[in-house]
Subunit: 381 residues, 2 copies
C-alpha cells in the first residue's frame, strides 16, 4: 500500500423529503445563487421544493448550464454573482451543473488574471461556499472536489480540483431519480462502474486488500441494482443503493494508497469534445479496449474482477471477464463500439493526433502512448 | 434504506514515516499538550519521532492515561491545560489515549458545571482542537467522534460523542504496530470485527446492499490479514491493511442508513467495569451468545455473513457461521467463554442486575432485556 493523505469533509444528507434541509445548511443571511441546467428540475417538482426551502433567503437563479458545461457559460454566472454580491451557491441538477458550480465558485474568487487559468493548473486560493441537490447518480461530483469543464472554442474538456471545491453539503433524495430517462440511468451506471475501474483495474494486486474489497463492494452493488433501476424505476431501495454506490465510486476513498489509471476517461473526453457523445458512451467504447490491449499488465486484477463480481473462473477468464463488462454496458442500454455512433477511422485519427499533440502518456504506468490509443480504438470500431 | 445525515471531516495521513507531518498539521504558534499512556511509545521510538516533529512548538506532556481511561485521570489533564493555557492536544497511543483526549478537549471548554455531565448527555458546545498518532488498530477512534470513559468510583463505562470531537488529523503509520504484543494485535482484530457486526448483523436484509457489501469488504479483510498479523508481525502490507480496515470498521460510513445493534458492546462494558477484562475479551464472549439467542431475528444476515465471509452454505449454515466467528476469535488468541477468565454465575448475576437497574433494553429492536442478557451469558459460561 502506498502512503496517502486524504480528508473528505462533505456532509451527505440522504433520503426522501430531505431537500427541505437546505434551509438548515445554508448560513442565515446568505445571498444565494441557484444554478441549474435545462429545466428538467421544473418538471419533477425538485425546483418547487428548492424554492420553498429558500424562502428565508435572498436568492437569484442562473439556468442553462449544459451537459459537459462550457467555460463560457460559467463566466456569465460569475458576472451575475459579482453584480448581485452573492456569497453562497446552490447547484441543483446532475454532475454537469455541479461541476460548473465548482468552477464558478473558484472563478469568482480568482485574482490572478483570466480564470481560464484554473483549467490549466492555476492555483485556487479561495472559492465561494456551495452546496447541491444532486438529481442524477453518475459522476460522484457530490462527494468530491473535482470537476470537468469544456472550452467550446478549442473543443477541449479540462479538469481541475482543489481542497476548496468540496461541496459544504450534498442532498441525495433517491425519489428525484424516479423520472430519469432510461438513457440517463444507464449512462450513470456505466460512468460509476468505470470510475471504480480507473482506481481498481491496475497492475496493483495483493497489497491493497481493503481497497480492492471495497471497490468490488461498490461494483457488485452497481451490477446488481443497475439493471433493476431500468426495470423498476420507482423502486426506492434500488434507486437509493444506485445513488449511494455512484457517490462512493468517486468520493476518493477507494483511490487512497493505490495507483490510478484514468486513461479510459482521458480518451473518452476527446470523443465527447470532438463528436458530442455522452460521457458514458465514450467510456463504454474505450474500457473494453483498454482491458484487452493491457491484459498482460492488468491481468491479475481482471481475473479478480471476473471472479469476485461476475463469478467467472477457469480458462479464458480474462477474455470472458472483458466480454462480461461489455455485456453489462450493453444491458444498461449503452452501446460499446464506435460504429454504433457512426464513428470510423477518422475519429481514431483525430483522437490519436490530439493526444499526441499534448504529449500525454496515459495509464497507471504512463505507457498508453498515442500508438496504444490507436490500437485500443481500432479494436472498438 | 433509512434516511441519514453524515459528515466525517477527519484528515487521514497514512503510511510509513508520516509522523513528521505533525509539524505541518498543528497550527503554527499553538501551545500543545502531548497525551499518552504508560510509556510503550518510548520503547518503539514513536515518542522520539513525535518530539522531533514538535520542535517548533511550545509543548507539554501528560502521561499515565490507562486502558479504559478514567474520568479522574482526564480531569488532571484538564487542570494542566488551564494552568499552561494550552490550545491544541496531540494524542499518541491507542484508542484509550485518544478517547481520553477527546474527553479532555471537551471538558476543558465545558461551561455548565461538572464536566462529568458530558458522560450523562451534557451538550458539548465547544472543544479544543486535537490530532493523533494512533499506535494500535482497534477502536476506530482515529476516524470517529465517539469515546468511552470509565468512572472509577462507580465502576461505570460511559460513552459520548459530538461533531466537535472529531480529530483534526490522524496519523496512521503501520510500522509502529510491528512491536505490538500478540495479545493487543488479537484484541484489536476482534474489536474491529465486532464493530462491523454491530452495524451489519441486524434484522435488516436486502435494503442496504451497498452498506452490506462494504461491511463484508471490511470483515473479509480482517479475517484475511488478522491471523497473518500474528504470524508475520513486521509484514508491512498486512499491518497496513489491518490498520486501515480497523479504522473503517468504525468511521461511521457503514452505519449510514441502517439500524444498529451495540448490545454486545453494552454487555461487554459491564464485564470490563466489574472485572477488568480487556474490552475485546468481553466482545469475544458475548457476540456468539447474542447470535445464538437472536438467531431468528438475525438469521438472514448471519447466513449472509457465513456465505460471503466464511464460505459457509447449506444445512446448519447459521450454527456453523456462529461457530466460525467463535473459532476466528480463538484463532486471534482471544478466549470466548466466561470460564476462560474464571468468571461464573456471579458475573452473570451482577451484569444482569446492573443492566436491569438502568432499565436498558438493548439491540436494534430494543428487545434484549435483562432476561435475554442472562440467557446470552449463561450460554457463554
Amino acid at each position: 500500500m502506498e502512503n496517502f493523505s486524504m480528508a473528505n469533509p462533505v456532509k451527505i444528507i440522504f433520503g426522501k423529503d430531505m431537500i427541505k434541509e437546505i434551509a438548515n445548511e445554508i448560513p442565515q443571511g446568505s445571498k444565494v445563487l441557484l444554478t441549474y441546467g435545462g429545466g428538467s428540475i421544473k418538471k419533477n417538482e425538485v425546483y418547487d421544493q428548492v424554492v420553498k426551502a429558500l424562502s428565508g433567503f435572498e436568492w437569484y437563479e442562473f439556468s442553462g448550464i449544459e451537459p459537459n458545461p462550457h467555460y463560457e457559460t460559467c463566466m456569465k454566472a460569475v458576472a451575475l454573482i459579482k453584480e448581485k454580491d452573492i456569497d453562497f451557491l446552490l447547484s441543483v441538477g446532475g454532475g454537469s451543473v455541479l461541476d460548473a458550480t465548482k468552477f464558478i465558485a473558484a472563478a469568482v474568487c480568482f485574482d490572478d488574471g483570466d480564470p481560464g487559468k484554473i483549467l490549466k493548473g492555476g492555483k485556487i486560493k479561495k472559492a465561494l461556499p456551495f452546496g447541491d441537490v444532486i438529481t442524477l447518480p453518475a459522476t460522484g461530483s457530490e462527494m468530491n472536489n473535482g470537476a470537468v469543464i469544456t472550452r467550446a472554442e478549442t473543443q477541449e474538456k479540462l479538469s481541475f480540483g482543489s481542497s476548496l471545491t468540496y461541496p459544504k453539503f450534498s442532498i441525495l433524495d433517491p425519489t428525484v431519480t424516479y423520472s430519469l430517462p432510461p438513457r440517463q440511468t444507464g449512462n450513470g451506471v456505466v460512468d460509476a462502474f468505470v470510475h471504480v475501474m480507473e482506481q481498481y483495474l491496475t497492475y496493483y494486486e495483493g497489497d491493497s486488500l481493503l481497497q480492492d474489497n471495497m471497490a468490488e463492494a461498490i461494483v457488485r452493488t452497481l451490477v446488481t441494482v443497475g439493471p433493476k433501476a431500468l426495470e423498476e424505476p420507482t423502486n426506492y431501495d434500488v434507486r437509493a443503493n444506485l445513488m449511494w454506490a455512484s457517490t462512493w465510486a468517486l468520493n476518493g476513498w477507494i483511490a487512497c494508497g493505490v495507483p490510478q489509471d484514468w486513461a479510459t476517461h482521458m480518451i473518452g473526453h476527446e470523443l465527447t469534445a470532438f463528436y458530442g457523445l455522452d460521457h458514458a458512451q465514450t467510456l463504454a467504447i474505450v474500457l473494453p479496449g483498454i482491458m484487452t490491449v493491457l491484459k498482460d499488465q492488468k491481468g491479475k486484477k481482471i481475473k479478480r474482477l471476473g471472479k469476485e463480481v461476475f463469478g467467472i473462473e477457469g480458462d479464458d477468464a480474462i477474455d470472458r471477464t472483458i466480454k462480461a463488462v461489455e455485456n453489462f454496458f450493453e444491458s444498461m442500454g449503452v452501446k460499446t463500439h464506435l460504429s454504433d455512433y457512426n464513428l470510423n477511422d477518422e475519429a481514431i485519427t483525430k483522437v490519436t493526433e490530439r493526444l499526441a499533440s499534448r504529449g500525454w502518456k496515459l495509464g497507471e504506468c504512463q505507457n498508453i502512448t498515442p500508438d496504444v490509443v490507436k490500437e485500443v480504438l481500432t479494436l472498438r470500431k
